[in-house]
Amino acid sequence: MTPKTNHNNTIIKELPKNFFSGFVVSLIALPLGLGLAIASDAPPISGIIAAIVGGVVVAILGGSHVTITGPGNGLVIVLLGAITTLGAGDLYQGYLFTLAAIVISGILMLLLGFLKMGRLADFFPASAIEGMLAAIGWGIFAKQFHIMIGHNNEHGSIVKLLAQIPNGLVDLIQNGSIEEMVAAGIGIISLLIMIFYSKLRNPYFQLIPAPMWILILSVGFSYSFGWLRLPFPMDSSYLISIPENVLSNLAFPDFSKILQTDFIVSVFAITLIASIESLLSIKAVDKLDSQSRRSNVNKDLKALGLATSLSGLVGGLNVVTVIARSSVNVNNGATNRSANLFHASFLVVFILLFQEQLKKIPLAALAAILVYTGYKLATPKTFRKVAKIGKEQIVIFLITLLTTLFTNLITGISVGILSTMVIHMIINKSSLLFLANVFKPNVLLFQEHEEKTYYISVKYFCSFLNFYRLKNKLDAVPEDQNVIIDFSVCSFVDHTVMEGLENYMDTFSKKGGSIEIVGLDKHGADSKHPFAIRKILPLETLKPIEKYFTRRQASLKATALEYDWSYEAKKSIKTKFLSNFIFFKTREISYFYNKLIDEKDNCSVFDVEFTEGAFVAKEVVKTTIMYVALPHQLPIFSLDKEGLLERIYKLAGFKDISIKNHPDFNRRFFLSGEKKTEIQALFHDDLIFFLESNPYYHVESNGNSLLILKKERLLSVQEIKAMIYFGQQLQKLLKHSLVV
């Protein structure tokens, strides 16, 4: 069977699953599409058009697998701004101008895709993006809260709207009309449904998503008046308006403002936010994908751009990739893009079949859905999460949030980026570190010879400004490989990078590979959070190392538990027991730390820092070694590869020793020592086979203990485990040879 037919077969086999998940998503997409459009002050149908056009175009041309596309909540604030400013009071005219802006922004997104700007979202600091999203959440919340309680005509800035909420509530209770009261009742009940939906564990109730329940109940509510022959207590201004015939009442963009400044600003803002929201969502959905496939972001960006333009041409809003609907899609078993297409098809069906019913949907019900969505973007939990990472992160977050609330999104995110840069400079007390090195390629990748591990070394600093370089390298490594990222020559690593690397680690471990970070032990951190900023401390020796727990240290601790060993992170300068190894004759040991101890077998593994050379030529080296204390005496010997350290051993009076009948061993290893016959007796056949068949380690005996060393750099936890295994086997074999 060729792979091609195989591929087609799976698609057909998986169609029912995707059909079902597409259906479930459409149940959410319908209320959300209507709601997001209303929240942007655009006709409700425009949100549905965006979802339909997006679903069809991106399903056919996109580069992602299980994403859902449609109108996005990030864009609500931008679109609302565009419609109000461009329309100058006339909302419908503003909507037509905004459609033109949407068409052009679609073309720009298409261009971004062709220019391979899928990287765009990488240039924003994580906390600034969090701040921006929180501001968007508040924006949606502020406006929709008033509609939810029946006050349809509140306008003004986000801050003003937020401030009016208490007044609005008081006003509703004191002198609300019946219509307002009914609307508020529907709104508040809807909100309660949104809040308590996830807490109700009834499987039948859970079959239909919460937003759809709200639509069904509120439409049912208005029909019940008809059945009871009572006058409906709300006029059409409290209900959504949908044109009689959707197909013949399409709105078309008005391009007459195309050269004006506020039009261009709007296009810019729409493109920026739409791209960021889509790119972030695509990345996030890739993580959810059960098959952990990698999306082609540039291809997706092109498809989204085209979809946006087409949607704008027929009166729809922007098409972006949306995280909430996509995750529902994944949770309901979607496996490929056809789910997106099905979601769009169901929306068409709903619009054509249920036109009458849709007109009965109260605005307050949709507003309640949006209030909940907005709140979700800026819960107190979000604040706590950011604050935990570090003081500077909450500062960046709040600066971005407040600037966005008081000005607009573009200014907000720009100020967020700027303040992040300034804060980084203040933390490092240096602007030169950033200014001088930002354009330098700071990442080196190579594959090590023996184990085929990928080794990445990062220099200078690594922050959101140049994280893309590291990402480029990481993207080029197949995810089933082992990677070691060494930050020991990098003086500053920021939160965006730490969080980004965490995502990579997830992907790699899912696909059978691994990423480990080494060389951060010397970096200070403000908090114990794994994503906290890390920077090299000039006075690091003054501070206890265990204060800044790195992930590597945490996993060393776990390893110790696993082996029933004990672990001590503390630095110790009691290094005398190492000094009679020849290896350390010419090297001065400063201290060791991260010690794993096995009391039973007298083994330990630890990181050690030593210096080579003296004065100007002095170099500080950190490496991981294993130390095995032996219960018996052993001849002094050293086993080395091809005589790299030959010179020192010659100086120590060692002679080259060859083992009879093992030419291969003699060629590959350099065994030396003083007591030739004793050493030859020690290296029995089993031991030699063991050494030949295992990866190379430098082994040295000082008479009563062994020193095992792999590389002149810190080892990853995986490598440490391998070394422990090697050491234990070696210890057994040596014991055996002495018994013999």
């Binding site: 496939r293 390629p441 080196l444 220099k459 197949p478 100007v616 030529a617 080296v621 790299l644």
Partner: protein
């Protein structure tokens, strides 16, 4: 290609700085290892006191049979050095360099840069000269696909041999440009991985060809390794040398650079602005 002593005359331009003694000890040692004649050149006026000082230092030089001559010239340092290299048939120019350039040191750095770009012979930039001998253990040389590369590699072998290095690593920088496929999804990643493997093999066989032309005596006692790295050309090799803690980095001379290249630094410029190790830039003397 004669490998027998490519560096017959070595020039060192000195200034009366606190590091003068260390610099002279180091350069005389290098000249001795290369079996070369050492010319010390001072750009500036000659005075009795200066002369006494330099002779005092020279009396400490370990290798007494080394042929040393001192010259005094006036003019702009870089121009004089360039001119002397031409007129005296210099094979190797030794310069003291600062490891990291900052804005204050930029002027000093720019002299070294200017010289490196314009000079007609090979240049050795020393970042950490020392009074006592620090053995050179590990030499890293570039293996770029370039017509100058075989020459640079053979020089690297000569130098490793002369300085008694233990290991020589030939670094092949595989450029992003050669991997024409963009990694966008799983499929393209697979293609790129295969392509990289191919490139690696191609590079390896190219290097092996070059190695054939190296005299056997230079290969003795020397561990030779090849390593493919992925990164920015010219820059990444410096980063690699730093990571493996090499003692000397050997590179091809940069091609004649235009105005654009200076605005957008590339290749050797990166290494010059942030020297990881001692650096030997090999250039054929005509």
């Amino acid at each position: 290609m004669s490998l027998n002593n490519p560096f017959k005359t070595v020039l060192f331009g000195f200034a009366f700085s606190p590091t003068l003694k260390i610099n002279i000890m180091e350069t005389s040692r290098i000249a001795h290892f290369f079996g070369a004649k050492l010319i010390l050149l001072h750009v500036g006026s000659k005075s009795d006191q200066k002369e006494r000082q330099i002779h005092e230092i020279l009396s400490h030089v370990e290798h007494k049979n080394l042929e040393i001559s001192i010259e005094w010239k006036t003019g702009k340092p870089d121009e004089v050095l360039l001119e002397t290299c031409q007129s005296s048939g210099i094979d190797l120019l030794i310069l003291g360099a600062l490891q990291h350039e900052n804005l204050y040191q930029f002027y000093v750095g720019s002299i070294a840069r200017k010289l490196t770009r314009k000079v007609c012979c090979s240049v050795l930039l020393l970042i950490k000269p020392s009074k006592e001998r620090v053995p050179c253990k590990h030499v890293v040389v570039n293996g770029l696909e370039d017509q100058e590369t075989p020459f640079a590699i053979s020089n690297a072998f000569y130098v490793s041999h002369a300085l008694g290095a233990k290991q020589l690593t030939i670094v092949e920088e595989i450029r992003q440009k050669e991997i024409a496929v963009n990694i966008e999804d799983d499929k393209s990643l697979k293609r790129v991985t295969i392509l990289k493997e191919k490139l690696k093999n191609r590079e390896d066989s190219r290097i092996r060809k070059i190695l054939k032309s190296i005299p056997k005596e230079y290969l003795k006692d020397l561990k030779i390794k090849t390593q493919s790295i992925f990164g920015k050309r010219g820059y990444s090799i410096g980063h690699y040398a730093e990571v493996v803690r090499a003692d000397l980095l050997v590179m091809n001379a940069p091609k004649k650079t235009g105005v654009l290249d200076r605005i957008f630094p590339h290749d050797i410029e990166y290494i010059l602005s942030d020297l990881p190790t001692d650096l030997l830039i090999v250039r054929k003397t005509n």
